[in-house]
């Protein structure tokens, strides 16, 4: 419609044609050529007026005005490059920060899987009657097989599980992100191969040999996208897989936050697991199940279908070694379906709140930035009052002037948005690196999508209205005569302008204070966590992860192999001591069960839960865990001897209250709920963190590695080093290689392991600190600018005051008084907002409450000091006014 508009020239031609026709007709009626022409014109009326009416009626006018406004706006912005640069940069930071956080939210929470019709996909979950929530999305393979074989509601159903596979054959590990997939995985997702073929149901049959599909990225990175990659053999945890195809480029897997490198069929798990394969294990929870419902099957029909299916599925996959009451509960479980369009993500639970928090923070930063620009625009509008007054006097409409001023704002914010998107691209990449750890590399699809671009455009428009409208309205509400006289005096006649600028600055202060408080809380929270007493010494400890099963060492030789490696590592130069454990400290993994003693009142449920680890006798010394009483493990603690344990203080306190725990015994309940053999406490060790940094230290019992009941194939070595731990890596590799070249080795330092578990806190502290500082800087620029402007405007007044005998000190006080009033309002409002708003931070803090007084006081102090400095500079300038100069000017 807009572009099909007639051109004015066409309209003019039509009028010409009319006049010709009319003249012709009049001539036929007997008029002379000249008379006819005049009469035709007369009958037509005012030709120019008709053309004007055509022009005004059309959007041509609108278009011309827009072009005019853009030209004018660009000219004004070019005339003032300093202002333009500051404004664009400020906006770019504000808009960029918002775009960055929003694109993370988009990538983690909102983006749909890159498969055809993702909104059809449904995740299957297991709902346990009596539980709240949506149900548990993990399955055992027996349950999955039952669902696959019995269901009739899905046109296709599939299962998958993330894993990691070692590509190296012994020595330092080289992990690839693995994906176990069921036969119909690719078919149901309707994906097409980029090369070769994808896995099908024929590949996923019990007893399968290995076929593997590479991700497009992995194919490009490792094989340069060569067709020759098809048919080659990959070694995954030393098992051979033939590459049969490559997945499409946009498909990164079902889990948002990571990408897969190689996908292999579920049936291949049999090769990895040895005797107790997860394929038949009835309490090995590792698969996620989803499907595409048959066409026309509604959500309700789907739910009904799954409900009917449930008893058959669970009866056939019942874990018969569970306690009877738990088996009974198991049989009552129900399958349910939930939407799966956005895939699954462990990132969501972890970063949901932090991201929302950061979104609020950057929103506030943007508001503060807007306030700065509004304040600059007000100053500029004041400077342009004469210009605007002349235009108004010449007949420019108010609406037209507002439009003109807003066009400038839109230009500014568009430029800001463009630069902001660049900032955001860079910022999100950085952010992803911040939340990535050595163990868990985060991958997000951060390509700009329509949602992110729409968001950026929306906030650009929103901000331009926010910072443009008030100054524009102000600018046109001027008294023409006063403005045209060009007197400075008009300013002091209208002190209201000052007041609105003061309000802007005060609100900036308030918002900055809120951000400073938030930053302070997160920084303190992180500091508390980082300096927390772990109960062990994290520095100079090298962790060496192993896997004897991958190296195909038979279970009966595993203990001996480990002991041999341990003694060799202990002999390495640079190694002060060596320990070994089933679980490395702060690994995130845990092993627990309920225990019973005869010395305390019977504890039940979670109260009776204790956490366990098998460790060698070098473990406590290596980690600098102080033995408080009793003895360490000794040579005599063998499988043949009585079972012994070293317990921590918490366990002693809870299970042996007011007793000396040494010499007492406890029993671990076995899987059927029956108490096991008695275990004697031989030592008491100081409390230390077990699985994570944030936890309350759990009751922990350490058992001697020599008494391990079953096979132990994934032990970890801890090496206390006298030199930099990473310098020992090659020596360790060589030493382990001497024992067995097939053993895969994974290296971390304990310090790194501890730091990685604080990734969320670190991110929040880093970002809130950064944005808090940014907000403070912006607010101070605002204050400084406003005061400088005020001082410049009141120069005459100050000059007169000084000519009349005012001391420089009193002028200084005059200006500083307005700084203090602005500061006071800002602080009061800021504290009020903080108290109301920080409650939502509760869950994200560690070791302090959201109303932490120290943080509040510190934030107010920082704000006040910086505000006084920012205010003092222009105030001092006011005292330097030369009365003679100003009086002469007036």
């Amino acid at each position: 419609m807009f572009w099909r508009k007639r051109k004015p020239s066409d309209f003019r031609a039509e009028i010409e044609a009319h006049l010709e026709l009319e003249t012709e007709q009049l001539k036929e009626q007997g008029l002379s050529e000249e008379e006819a022409r005049v009469a035709a014109r007369h009958a037509f009326g005012n030709v120019t007026r008709a053309q004007e009416r055509f022009y005004e009626s059309g959007r041509w006018l609108w278009w011309d005005h827009l072009v005019q406004d853009l030209h004018f706006g660009l000219r004004m912005l070019r005339k003032n490059p300093g202002f333009t640069a500051v404004a664009i940069l400020t906006l770019a930071i504000g808009i960029g920060a918002n775009t960055a956080i929003f694109s993370l939210i988009d990538a983690v929470m909102l983006r749909m899987l890159p498969v055809p019709r993702p909104d059809e996909l449904r995740l299957v979950r297991i709902f346990q009657p009596g539980d709240t929530g949506e149900g548990n999305p993990t399955f055992t393979n027996p349950i999955w097989e039952q669902v696959r074989d019995r269901q009739g509601v899905f046109s296709g159903v599939f299962a998958w599980s993330g894993d990691r596979f070692d590509l190296a054959q012994g020595g330092a590990v080289h992990y690839a992100n693995g994906l176990w997939v069921s036969g119909d995985f690719f078919k149901t997702l309707e994906l097409r191969p980029a090369a070769g073929r994808l896995l099908t149901a024929a590949d996923d049959q019990r007893g399968c040999s290995g076929a593997a599909v590479l991700s497009y990225g992995f194919w490009q990175e490792h094989y340069g996208g060569a067709a020759s990659a098809l048919g080659i053999t990959l070694s995954l945890d030393t098992h051979s897989f033939e590459v049969v195809g490559v997945a499409p480029p946009s498909f990164y897997g079902m889990d948002v936050g990571s990408k897969f490198d190689v996908a292999i069929p579920i049936c291949a798990a049999a090769q990895f697991d040895g005797k107790e394969s997860r394929l038949d294990h009835r309490s090995w929870w590792w698969l996620t199940v989803a499907g595409r419902p048959k066409p026309g099957v509604s959500m309700n029909q789907l739910a009904a279908g799954l409900r009917v299916l449930s008893p058959q599925v669970f009866t056939a996959s019942q874990p018969t070694n569970w306690p009877p009451d738990m088996q009974k509960k198991f049989l009552r479980w129900v399958l349910v379906a939930t939407p799966a369009a956005t895939g699954m993500s462990s990132l969501r639970r972890q970063f949901d709140r932090p991201l929302q928090m950061l979104m609020a923070v950057v929103g506030l930063v943007l508001l503060i930035a807007c306030a700065n620009i509004a304040s600059l625009m007000l100053a500029r509008a004041a400077a342009r009052r004469k210009d605007l007054a002349v235009r108004q006097a010449l007949g420019a409409g108010r609406f037209r002037l507002i439009r003109q001023l807003l066009t400038e704002c839109v230009l500014l914010s568009s430029a800001g948005a463009l630069v902001g998107i660049l900032f955001a691209r860079w910022g999100t990449a950085l952010l992803v690196r911040v939340i990535s750890t050595a163990r868990n590399e985060v991958f997000l699809d951060l390509s700009l999508d329509r949602r992110v671009l729409g968001f950026t455009v929306a906030i650009a428009v929103f901000t331009s209205v926010l910072f443009g409208l008030l100054p524009a309205l102000r600018a046109i509400r001027v008294s023409l005569t006063l403005a045209m006289k060009g007197s400075q005096a008009t300013e002091s006649v209208r002190p209201r302008r000052f007041r609105s600028r003061h309000w802007i600055v005060a609100s900036q202060m308030a918002l900055s204070l809120v951000l400073l408080v938030a930053a302070g809380l997160f920084l303190r929270s992180f500091a508390k966590l980082a300096t927390l007493d772990m109960g062990f010494d994290r520095n100079n400890v090298l962790l060496v992860g192993t896997n004897l099963q991958v190296a195909r060492i038979p279970p009966d030789q595993q203990l001996a192999t480990y002991e041999m490696i341990e003694s060799r590592l202990g002999a390495l130069p640079g190694v002060l001591s060596v320990g070994r454990s089933k679980l490395a400290p702060i690994s995130g993994y845990f092993w627990n069960n309920t225990i019973h003693t005869d010395w305390s009142k019977a504890l039940s449920g979670d109260d009776a839960l204790a956490f366990f680890n098998y460790v060698s006798s070098g473990y406590f010394q290596t980690l600098h865990m102080t033995l408080l009483a009793g003895r360490n493990f000794a040579r005599g603690d063998t499988k043949a001897g009585p079972r012994v344990a070293v317990v921590n203080e918490t366990l002693a306190r809870r299970f042996f209250p007011n007793l000396n725990p040494i010499g007492r015994t406890f029993r671990i309940d076995d899987i059927g709920g029956q108490p096991g053999p008695p275990i004697e406490v031989v030592g008491l060790v100081k409390d230390s963190k077990y699985a994570s940094v944030r936890e309350d230290i759990p009751p922990t019992a350490f058992f001697p590695a020599t008494q391990i009941s079953k096979h132990t194939e994934e032990d970890s070595f801890e090496l206390r080093t006298g030199i930099r731990p990473s310098a020992l890596v090659s020596a360790v590799q060589a030493a382990v290689g001497d024992v067995n070249k097939q053993i895969p080795l994974e290296f971390h330092t304990l310090a790194e392991q501890v730091n990685d578990s604080m990734v969320q806190e670190r991110m929040l502290a880093l970002l809130s600190g950064f944005f808090g500082a940014l907000a403070l800087l912006l607010a101070m620029i605002g204050l400084y600018g406003t005061l400088s402007y005020l001082v410049a405007q009141r120069q005459t007044e100050f000059g007169i005051r000084m000519a009349l005998g005012a001391e420089p000190g009193s002028i200084l006080r005059l200006v500083m008084r307005s700084v203090l009033s602005v500061l006071a309002i800002g602080v009061v409002a800021g504290i009020a907002i903080s108290l109301a708003a920080t409650r939502v931070l509760q869950q994200l803090l560690f070791g302090l409450g959201p109303r932490d007084a120290v943080t509040m006081v510190a934030a107010v102090a920082v704000l006040s000091v910086v505000a006084l400095i920012a205010g003092y500079l222009p105030a001092r300038r006011a005292t330097k006014v030369d009365p003679m100069v100003t009086l002469r000017n007036e």
């Binding site: 031609a13 039509e14 044609a17 009469a39």
Partner: protein, 118 residues
């Protein structure tokens, strides 16, 4: 042709020009000048239609989609922009005509029989 003094003519009521244009086009495509002529003739020169006012009106009707336009050649072989009534325009004409008739009748009733007029 324009012998009658202009002060004797009736000024067009607001909005009636649109109606007259639509009505005129019911007999087939016509160019602007022809429409002007036709209105003058059918109203027996009672109405004052300034030709200049015709074109913005035509433009407006075209934008609303009630008429469509195309350049063509007139009977005496001159280039002219011809207007045709669209289906939408036809509907609008019916609506407007009914409205106008009701209005005229209502006003007529208020004013009473013609004899009453001095």
């Amino acid at each position: 042709m324009s012998t009658q003094k202009e002060k004797d003519r009736l000024e067009l009521l607001q909005g009636t020009l649109d109606l007259l244009i639509l009505r005129t086009l019911i007999f087939g495509p016509q160019h602007g000048q022809g429409i002007g002529r036709a209105i003058q003739q059918t109203t027996e020169d009672e109405l004052l239609v300034e030709h200049g006012a015709l074109y913005p009106a035509l433009q407006r009707l075209e934008e609303r989609g009630w008429i469509a336009a195309e350049w063509g050649t007139s009977t005496n072989n001159r280039k002219a922009r011809f207007y045709t009534l669209t289906r939408l325009g036809r509907k609008q004409l019916v609506r407007e005509t009914t409205k106008w008739r009701r209005l005229a009748a209502a006003i007529g009733r208020v004013l009473g029989p013609e004899a009453g007029e001095g």
